[in-house]
Symmetry: C2
Subunit: 337 residues, 2 copies
Amino acid sequence: MARLREVGELEALRRLIRDRAAGPGVIVGPGDDAAVLRPTPGVDLVATTDALVAGRHYLAEWITPEELGARLAAANLSDLAAMAATPRWALLETGVGADHEVDDLLALERGLERALGEAGASIVGGNLSATAGPEWLTLTLLGEVARGRAWTRRGARPGDLIAVSGAPGRAGAGLALARRLGAAARDPALEPLLDAWLRPRAHVALALSLAASGAVTAAIDISDGLAGDLRQLCEASGVGAEIDAALGEGDAPLARAATALGVGAFELFAGPSDDYELLLAVDPARRAAGELAAEAVGERLAFIGRFAAAPGVIEAVSGDGARRPIEASGFDHFARR
Amino acid sequence: MARLREVGELEALRRLIRDRAAGPGVIVGPGDDAAVLRPTPGVDLVATTDALVAGRHYLAEWITPEELGARLAAANLSDLAAMAATPRWALLETGVGADHEVDDLLALERGLERALGEAGASIVGGNLSATAGPEWLTLTLLGEVARGRAWTRRGARPGDLIAVSGAPGRAGAGLALARRLGAAARDPALEPLLDAWLRPRAHVALALSLAASGAVTAAIDISDGLAGDLRQLCEASGVGAEIDAALGEGDAPLARAATALGVGAFELFAGPSDDYELLLAVDPARRAAGELAAEAVGERLAFIGRFAAAPGVIEAVSGDGARRPIEASGFDHFARR
């Protein structure tokens, strides 16, 4: 093992870009002043960037470097999925300490590269910075979408159905359990929650299949928590929403976490959580087409409510018809905790 | 004035993207999961990313937020200039403390936006992270170049001339003076050096004019120091280089700095320095065309030597024909200092 301080910046960069196969559409890859890429003729380009900061977005003692790289990929892939874009090219920035093990950096890059590669994207450039403080990673991911066909947050209409992929809230529950229980959170009964937190997967194939179905009118990815991201989608679309007050109760691991944490399953389902699930507005006339498109890629959509006319009003509706407003906002990294 | 902790992440982001005019080719700008951009038909895309870390790449007590934003722009614009690309779209990531003044963040963004705007580019997305440690900024910049016409580091041939824009070494000298002399470095006689360090400008117009002249066979930007970046260009092209041993002596402010710092002017000229000047290989048969192209945009090229056949051998040649090898490598951020 060797540390960055011993190996030096140039040599570390050499090892990081060595043996890297140039991905499709890469004319000039890592190692020059910039990457040169050849877009597919006639497409729109979709660009996103997301960061992971040690101690804020991840806890280094809980995650391996490979998993961390894959998680950075998922955070960015999920943004492209929410635009119905096909991932293509990524640029990585890292701020790490001089005592960081070069092998750990290589492992992180492998995890990143593998997760990107499964979605069809490759690393085309990057940068390595030194920091004396908490380490950070930022990725910029570029994708492509047929001209004018990107999903946005703006298209939801009153009456459209609210659908989610996967199991929202599990990632936030995993983090809360790790903080509360420490090593005891590694209980097999809680494993799906730790897994959602440490090894999230973006729903790229689902998004592309749904895009072809024409069922989706608006989309956002759940990176702050369902309630907060639903609020953002409602604000962008100028609509309100009604969701089922019993959400989360049907997810057995989440219900166990709720008991362990002394909160309601709904609060975990809808509260702060970086799940990288998709939250979608679905045209009710195309619900069946959407469900088929999800099944075609081995996924399932859960329909959890519908959009309503009153702008910004988000309510949970119980089986008996009782309504209560949803206050939850997204995760604020600058809030005192 | 209000701090991020008081204002919150969402509101700070709202202020950062408020009133921002969508730039050319921006279909969906900041505020969605990703930006949607429309490339010019038939071009290659050029993508770079660069970071500034507090205490490493800048000293917060020496630079205003506006200047810092402009400097981040220059670092990235310079990479695109070195590829002969036209800058178009940028994504900003910031890692800042919860006590950071929101107004300072807005000023940084203004400086960034203005510098990008002068080069024809706009901010299309970004992200705000909290950090308890040294603050950092990363920018990813996208540009366009006619298909297959990007400059690279690989095209220099023995006999090609070595040209540089501007006055290499001044930025590194400014930093060294600030560290050595403290406030006394604000001497008017040294102002051009502090200016080069704090307010660098990328040579985008020069690059585009030169690209049209066909005079350039390879290019790199000087972001680590002339000797280090010349070495990288030589390694990529499989050539060596001879440069004038008297370089730097003709630059009066640099010569004054050399005296103040007790080093040679050549060492400052060629040593570690993030000048964002262009280092170019020029076809000798097209030197005049290159000079005219530079004059057309109010710039001047200095011809400082020529590329040679022996791979990796870089020498300084004196007026009397004496040769000495150049050892200087670039700036290593992980080295002990």
